[in-house]
Amino acid sequence: MTADPTHLPAAEIARRVRRGELSAASAAEAFLARAHRLGPKLNTWIRLDPEGARRAARAVDEAVAAKKDPGPLAGVPVGIKDLVDMAGLPTTAGSRIDRDRIAKEDATLVRRLRGAGAVILGKLNLHEYAYGPTGHNIHYGDMKNPWDPSRVTGGSSGGSGNAVATGQAAFAIGSDTGGSIRIPASLCGVVGHKPTFGLVSKAGCVPLSWSLDTVGPLARTAEDCALAMSVLAGHDPADPCSMDGKPLRFLEGLGEPLKGLRIGHARRYYADSDPEVAEAVERLAEALAEAGARVEEVEIPDQEPAKDATAIVLMCEAAAYHEKNIRDRPGDYDPRVVERLRPGLLVRAAEYLQAQRFRGEWAARVMREAFGRADFLLAASTPIPAPPIAEDTVTLRGGKQAVRGLLTSLTRMWNFFGGPAVSFPAGFSRGGLPIGAQLMGAPFSDARLLAVLHQLERMGVAETKRAPFEDERR
């Protein structure tokens, strides 16, 4: 039995705590010690909350001792992206502007996690206001990739990515508006699940783009994501975007076999990726076929217009949320962030509305043309492994390209579509950096999506490895 709980998946921690084999207090101390030691070196946390974590862990241990149900996430140490409210703590959103904005109450998702016995360790670093895919942050430090600290984590949920990859949290909450869960998952080598739009409540979360924002878990395994989603998903009247409907069965269907599953290999979608990335996804397609899935090439229709329309929607909604501060306090933003926020205030209403009109028709086409032929689509998550923190451009297939555009090129469109997607480790580059693959589904296929990944993990073709940053193995 592993003695160090920071090496255990979240589901195993919960199982052991529930059975009385591991105390929530000792799990919390192990993760807190690691977070104190590694966090400052990787700029993982904006604020740790050791007292809150210890209090929560004590309550779980008392419940176990009293033979009461401690909840499905009993004693699981969790990190929360710092755009989610936790009562009594500041929600900085990675900004200087909101550095002292103390949350009056917990976000719905925090309440759900606490109610399920999770032990919240603190607030994780992010790209300022989640508006950036790299994990740069001039206020709280650039988040560093644990596989090579001179490289980015990806963003915006960069602290969530490096926390899970280094065992500073058993799982972490991130948000995803254009890839902000999947990009750091891909670059840090962990699993990141962007849920269907409206499945997880955003009440108490700082918005970036109301019609694109989603909140979900980054974890080590599909089972851990499913466990987290079994608690997080569900209707919330406090969130106007929250969808009511039959509960999804996240844990019950994990064992479903791949045989007969239709996988659409969206080869052209990621054709311009680094060759090592493309090869890794090809290997996955072969593994799926060998396991009995029917794999055929599927085209996502109208990709370029959809990417462009997504950019308009995101730009306008982000600018609308930030309008007052863009005008009154532009100097308090990272100059690179405010530069991208400003144009949104000058886009014409007709341009925004046509993009939203296009969205409905395009999504219906994706349903017919892609999901008429496949249950899930397979692609890369990011076309490159983690680029250097200091570089704004990289050379890819002989041409110089902007890092920011590249990193969101395979994720952003799925927020426009609204369906779920999961990024997961698909091996390593020859330089030792994680490569991320992506499975994308139709709306509300989240549970089955994670079940497919669970089978890939069992086959050994999708495995989260602990980043060796300052570890005993190095």
């Binding site: 217009p305 530069e339 939203q356 296009f358 969205r359 028709e361 709306p443 509300f444």
Partner: protein, 66 residues
């Protein structure tokens, strides 16, 4: 379509105040010109029935129908 400098200056003053540098105005103008081109391409693809709530309706149906 290129936006004339005077027009950009007026638009920026009205939406963003007086503090913008000429370089920042040029950069915003480039973004807006790009959006105008995208807009043209999107409009040519739309059917008369398309409406801005179409996507929310699609998600709602997917949730209801399981």
């Amino acid at each position: 379509m290129r936006i004339p400098d005077e027009e950009m200056a007026r638009l920026c003053r009205s939406a963003l105040g007086d503090s913008l540098s000429p370089e920042a105005r040029v950069s915003i103008a480039a973004v807006l010109e790009g959006i105008a081109e995208i807009h043209g391409r999107l409009v040519s693809r739309l059917s008369p029935e398309a409406e801005p709530q179409g996507h929310a309706a699609l998600l709602g149906r997917a949730r209801r129908d399981g």
